[in-house]
């Protein structure tokens, strides 16, 4: 599509228009998905509590979220007089924006990705580490006790779980050999015999469980929702918010939950690949497999929310620092050890191999592997002169 626009509108402007349209093609369905997922969340939660859930607005209550959205939009925005006005209004916008921009690098199907950058996973990590600011700024600028407590909790919680998420991602990257999310998905093709997905690998499955639980903590979902523990903190950082600024927090929160579900699917369960590497399954477009996986994970998220009681704060910290951190550290060690023993150690990437043309360069960069280099004759092998 970008080429077509560039052909008709000129290079720069065509690129701009095409990208704008692509962004809208992701952001608008995402908003719709968030509305429906809030409805689904309430329905699942209700079903597990033997209630009916929303069932009045529209058929089966399907329009409930839209009715709520309309109601919230028509309310008055109240800014507390002691609040720090500018920051108070920036915080929800920040939360909402950060929930959206993470989707830029998520591949929805083969070649269906807005920006196929080679540091995709780092970008996701950067965005998720930024998302703590929305909560912290909201809590501080409200100038009220409970939001401030909530902001402190949020900051500590997100920073703690970021660490174990980082180690989990390292294990995935080691196995995939790339930071690019499309590359990570491709690496999962028939990973275990004919099954697609790192999660089916017994060595990586524990990491996928840790990642799932850390994702719950990162998005402050149910067992870890201490930032808005209503029995202690009223409504946490959202206490002073009303109307649209409140709705933006709400949308941002569920947008983040969807992003985390998408990441779970992408990193461990094959993204847009069908679960089994079997030709007829590829007739179904990849985007359907991806959405099916997201929905499955969202069901897990609401399942946990409906069944698991909230953690105490010290238990949350204990889980993050004393259990997840050592386990994921050990697992990075195990995975890298396994990779060292089994995988070929020398690079097969054409870019690197083409760049190394002289003996001196080979000694300098790849001292222990000279046999795989097409540009050098085999007789030239010498003892490595590393460092």
């Amino acid at each position: 599509m970008t080429e077509w626009f560039q052909g008709t509108l000129g290079y720069g402007f065509g690129w701009f228009t095409a990208t704008l349209i692509l962004i809208l093609m992701i952001a608008l369905p995402l908003m719709l998905a968030v509305a429906m997922i809030i409805y689904a969340d309430r329905k699942i939660w209700a079903a597990m509590a033997l209630r009916r859930g929303p069932n009045v607005v529209g058929p089966f209550g399907l329009l409930q979220s839209f009715a709520d959205g309309l109601k919230v939009m028509l309310k008055e925005t109240i800014v507390p007089s002691a609040a720090n006005r500018g920051l108070f209004l920036i915080a929800p916008i920040l939360t909402f924006t950060l929930a959206l921009i993470g989707w830029a690098v998520i591949p929805f199907g083969p070649d269906m990705v807005l920006s196929d950058i080679n540091v995709g996973l780092l970008y996701i990590l950067a965005v998720s580490s930024l998302s703590v600011y929305g909560v912290v700024i909201a809590g501080w600028s409200s100038n009220s006790k409970y939001p401030f407590y909530s902001a402190l909790r949020a900051a500590a919680q997100m920073v703690s779980y970021e660490v174990s998420v980082g180690f989990v991602l390292i294990a995935v990257i080691l196995w995939a050999g790339t930071f690019n999310l499309s590359g990570i998905i491709e690496a999962q093709r028939s990973h275990v015999w004919i099954i697609n997905g790192f999660g089916f690998n017994p060595l990586l499955f524990p990491m996928s469980v840790i990642f799932f639980i850390s994702a719950l903590a990162e998005t402050a979902r149910a067992p870890f929702d201490l930032t808005e523990a209503e029995s202690e903190l009223v409504a946490g950082f959202q206490t002073e918010y009303s109307s649209m600024s409140f709705a933006l927090f709400w949308l941002g929160e569920y947008g983040n939950v969807l992003l985390m579900c998408g990441l779970n699917a992408t990193l461990f369960w094959g993204g847009w690949l069908p679960p089994i590497d079997w030709a007829p399954l590829y007739l179904v477009p990849g985007i359907f497999w991806f959405f099916a996986k997201i929905m499955l994970f969202f069901f897990f998220f609401s399942w946990v929310k409906a069944t698991v009681p909230r953690f105490r704060y010290d238990q949350l910290m204990r889980l993050g620092w004393k259990i997840f951190l050592p386990i994921s550290l050990l697992w990075v060690f195990l995975v890298s050890g396994y990779m060292m023993l089994t995988k070929e150690q020398c690079p097969t990437d054409r870019g690197i191999l083409a760049a190394i043309t002289t003996d001196e360069q080979a000694d300098r960069y790849l001292p222990s592997c000279r046999s795989g280099m097409p540009n050098l004759s085999n007789g030239q092998r010498r003892a490595g002169a590393a460092s």
């Binding site: 703590v132 970021e162 010290d314 690079p347 460092s387």
Partner: protein
């Protein structure tokens, strides 16, 4: 064109937010301006084609270091009026420092314009087609492996030092022992009382 536009945008915001970091009255605002400066510096790195460094800048500085800054500053009860009271006292020394820095910058730019000093061939000429994570990795884990590991050890020492400094045993706490709780079985905790006389409490 778009690069120049992006460069001037990022550079202007970096400088402006740097100025605001110093000028803003509220320390929390200062930290937030500092974060904006970090973020736009990452943008400048992206223009240079150093996407790995840019992402690391955001993850490490914005995502971790600045959160701690913000955390500390939010908790502190800084009275800025009191801090500013010493402004006149430190003015001469501050001016001197500023002049020294200015002179150094001028010298650096002059030296740069004069052609710089030839430092010989660059240590690691890298093919521009190789993604910079790979390029960095091939250099870091072969040529500079020992230096890299030494840096890691320095960080480890710093971490252990921080833990030793802050760790203390408190005797007035009763910490939860989760494994002990999980080992508890009904027969350890439940006692059936049959011949309980009426009008007396259960003896525990």
């Amino acid at each position: 064109m778009i690069q120049a536009l992006a460069f001037y945008l990022f550079a202007t915001i970096v400088i402006a937010s740097g100025v605001m970091t110093i000028a803003s009255r509220n320390p929390v605002h200062s930290v937030l301006w500092l974060i904006l400066a970090f973020f736009n510096a990452a943008g400048l790195m992206l223009i240079l084609g150093a996407e790995f460094i840019a992402m690391l800048l955001v993850i490490v500085y914005v995502g971790a270091v600045a959160v701690l800054f913000l955390f500390v500053v939010m908790m502190l009860d800084v009275d800025f009026a009191q801090l500013r009271a010493g402004f006149a006292k430190y003015l001469p020394f501050g001016t001197l420092l500023a002049l020294v820095l200015l002179a150094e910058i001028v010298f650096a730019i002059a030296a740069w314009n004069a052609g710089g000093i030839a430092v010989g061939a660059r240590a690691a000429p890298v093919d521009p087609n190789v993604p910079n994570i790979q390029a960095l990795g091939t250099v870091l884990y072969t040529r500079y492996l020992y230096i890299f590991e030494a840096a890691g050890l320095v960080l480890l020492v710093a971490m252990i030092g921080a833990i030793v400094l802050t760790h203390r045993k408190r005797s007035d706490l009763r910490p939860q022992n989760v494994s002990l709780q999980n080992q508890r079985r009904p027969k350890d905790a439940v006692r059936v009382v049959t011949d309980q006389p009426v009008g007396e409490g259960v003896r525990l």
